[in-house]
Amino acid sequence: MNDIIRDYIEQQFLIEFDESFPEDSDLFKEGVIDSFGYVQLCRFLEKEFNFRFQENEMTGNVLTSLSRIREFVRQKNSPAVTAPAP
């Protein structure tokens, strides 16, 4: 999973993660994310990992860095978290 997301972000935003640009960099503060790119990223994650973003979960700082995006997707894909309560 890790490399797919990383590759996508590098390709979409023409950046490279390395020591000078670590994976926990805030992509907004670094000026990497624009509106079109952000929506494309969300669509990519939904399609690739088979879930839908909900409005209410987007008001937290969930997709601000590559590491946070990974964490979010991991939780989304975890049945314990995503299964509806009985």
Partner: protein, 653 residues
């Protein structure tokens, strides 16, 4: 309309004065094909190329006062010159001609720099005082007409377009990477920027005094959006809008030649055309750009408006090939890199306009800035109130934004919500309204190696602007629009630089101080701002087709990178060849390669706005570097000969 050029205490042998000044004027002859004139003395040379519009016979420049002490070269129009003339005559001033040039000169002599805020129009001028050995340069309040200056030794060069500096002996163009990074970050130059080291733009609303090696810059106008008109109701607001626009259009129809109208398909130019038709005894000529590429085309609305008016309509259909074929010539005229290709069709439209025998046109620029027509104003209101809004109003307001952008559609509401959440608090002091836009700019600024912070210059500009910090979020957004996108692109690169490339003068009735003041008195008082330009549209509801009145704002754009990928012109080598890119030392070769590769190999629908913008910027920088810095590969342009009508040499024999 004209072009002006000259020098003050130049680093030049005296015998070279006439030929140098004529060569400088020849470089901008397209601005004024009707006549060239100049005056010289030991210290100064100034001249103009003139497009004759008012008092065609007597308006020859340069113009002196009867004593011969003051000499004036002037570019533009002061629309209220008849009223000023009457006032000056009442104060004892007498006139020898009927031209507005003489009114300007007498106004300066009578009121001094206080005359500038009395002028309603677009102008730039150079005034030389022989007795004091002093040169004055001044420019209108909204930046309608250009004026560039380059300090040189003890003096300076000045001109309406920078290309006039090319023939000055020893003058060299060099790009300034820090300024270019700022232009890329903000999308346009800041008021004093040109992108070239050592060349300044005289900021709008300023004048400048050169004397004995000293350059002093003075401001005479400030944008504060403090409306002073008392308006009690929406109905009264609409009546006042009709009155002031009618008066503004009537002033801008003052001309000894026929005036046409550019119809975009939107409401602003439709209002201008309707009012022009009402005020004119002649049938109206209208001009429009159509696009073969449907996503940019507004020909349905343009044709509907033209048939509603019964105008003689001239439509110019633009293909990808047209954009690609004429991009180099348009970039030569523009001189400064642009973020869109949409100026190229305007270059071709002015050619067609001139061929139809029209040399003055009215257009709708300024309405969106004055009456809050752009989505960025709604975006600012929404982000300002983001944390306090409930889910439902937030959703409704998001849904009203950027209808032409597919990724703002309902299917991506969750994603857009997440994006706006990140932009609900101010990160860049004073620039809150434009922070999302500047994200695209930061991407473009990566073209420049070691660019530093591309937004540092604009942050410093607003921090130094008197009164700016006290403005509200929407007024700050308006200020930024007036000072960057409007002056730095719409009026200049897309506006007068393209129209004057073919000797056509463009006039903007919405940019009348009385109209802008009224808009400030009305905006957000009788509506919430989310139905853009609501009062303006209501004001003309009865006078225009309903489809035009109710149409959503559709930004004027043209095919961008897709056109170049389709047509693959030879000059793409400037970006695709490593050797060519290496000739421009400040470009980040690795980023240029990555971007160019992506553009050339990715389906157009997957190319983002920021990538398109960056590509067009890059193409402009590469071509302008070639034309101005390397002085090679100049585009083939028709030669314009502006006959010499006046040559005055005051130097001691």
């Amino acid at each position: 309309m004209c072009g002006i050029a000259g020098f003050f205490h130049p680093t030049l042998a005296s015998e070279a004065y006439p030929a140098t000044l004529l060569a400088m004027l020849r470089a901008i002859a397209h601005r004024g094909p009707d006549a060239t004139g100049y005056v010289l003395d030991e210290h100064c040379g100034l001249g103009s190329t003139r497009l004759s519009i008012i008092d065609i016979a007597a308006g020859v420049q340069p113009l002196a006062d009867p004593s011969g002490r003051y000499w004036l070269c002037y570019n533009g129009e002061i629309y209220n010159y008849l009223e000023l003339r009457t006032e000056l005559e009442g104060l004892g001033r007498s006139f020898l001609t009927h031209s507005d040039t003489e009114v300007l000169l007498q106004a300066w002599l009578h009121w001094g720099p206080a005359c500038l805020s009395r002028f309603n129009g677009g102008f730039a001028f150079a005034l030389y005082d022989r007795l004091q050995d002093e040169l004055i340069l001044a420019r209108d309040r909204y930046g309608k007409r250009p004026l560039f200056y380059a300090p040189q030794g003890r003096g300076c060069l000045f001109a309406s377009e920078m290309k006039a500096f090319l023939p000055f002996p020893g003058f060299r163009f060099e790009h300034d990477p820090a300024q270019l990074a700022s232009i890329l970050g903000v999308w346009t130059p800041l008021p004093a920027q040109t992108g070239y080291a050592g060349i300044h733009s005289l900021p709008m609303g300023h004048w400048l005094k050169l004397k004995a090696e000293r350059i002093e810059l003075f401001r005479y106008d400030t944008l504060d959006f403090q409306g002073t008109t008392t308006v009690a109701s929406a109905e009264e607001a609409q009546e006042l809008i009709r009155q002031r626009l009618r008066a503004s259009v009537a002033l801008r129809l003052r001309s000894d030649v026929e005036v046409g109208v550019y119809l975009s398909g939107g409401i602003d130019s439709a209002i201008v055309a309707r009012l022009a038709q009402e005020a004119s005894s002649r049938p109206l000529s209208t001009f429009s750009v159509e696009f073969a590429d449907r996503q940019y085309d507004e020909s349905t609305e343009q044709q509907e408006m033209a048939s509603f008016l019964g105008s003689r309509h001239h439509a110019l259909r633009i293909t990808h090939q047209d954009i690609v074929d004429h991009f180099p010539a348009a970039a030569w005229h523009a001189e400064i890199p642009a973020f869109r290709s949409a100026f190229v069709p305007m270059y071709l439209l002015s050619r067609q306009t001139r061929a139809a025998g029209i040399k003055v046109v009215l257009s709708g620029e300024g309405a969106d800035e004055a009456f809050l027509g752009y989505d960025i104003f709604k975006e600012t209101l929404l982000r300002r109130d983001w944390q306090s809004l409930g889910d439902e109003p937030r959703r409704a307001r998001l849904a009203s934004l950027y209808p032409h952008l597919e990724h703002y559609g309902p299917q991506d509401l969750a994603a857009i919500t997440g994006l706006y959440q990140q932009f609900a608090e101010e990160r860049l002091p004073g620039l809150f309204s434009h922070e999302l836009r500047f994200q695209n700019g930061r991407f473009s600024a990566r073209l420049i190696k070691e660019a530093g912070d591309p937004l540092q210059a604009i942050a410093a500009l607003v921090a130094a602007e008197p009164g700016y910090a006290a403005l509200g979020a929407v007024h700050k957004a308006q200020w930024l629009e007036f000072r960057t996108l409007l002056a730095g692109y719409l009026l200049s690169t897309q506006g007068e630089r393209m129209s004057l490339a073919h000797g056509v003068e463009n006039r903007c009735p919405f940019l009348d101080p009385a109209v802008v003041e009224l808009a400030s008195s009305i905006n957000l008082r009788f509506d919430d701002g989310f139905a853009e330009k609501w009062q303006l549209r209501q004001a003309f509801r009865e006078d225009l087709p309903a489809s035009i009145v109710n149409k959503r704002k559709f930004p004027y754009r043209a095919p961008d990178s897709a056109a170049f990928v389709d047509c693959r012109p030879d000059y793409l080598e400037l970006l695709l060849s490593a050797d060519e890119v290496a000739k421009i030392p400040f470009l980040d070769g690795k980023f240029v390669r990555a971007l160019s590769k992506k553009i050339m190999t990715t389906p157009a629908a997957e190319i983002s706005t920021k990538e398109n913008q960056t590509f067009i910027f890059l193409l402009g920088i590469a071509l302008q570097h070639r034309f101005f810095v390397q002085r090679s590969g100049l585009p083939q342009l028709p030669e314009v000969v502006s006959p010499l009508g006046r040559a005055i040499d005051l130097r001691a024999r």
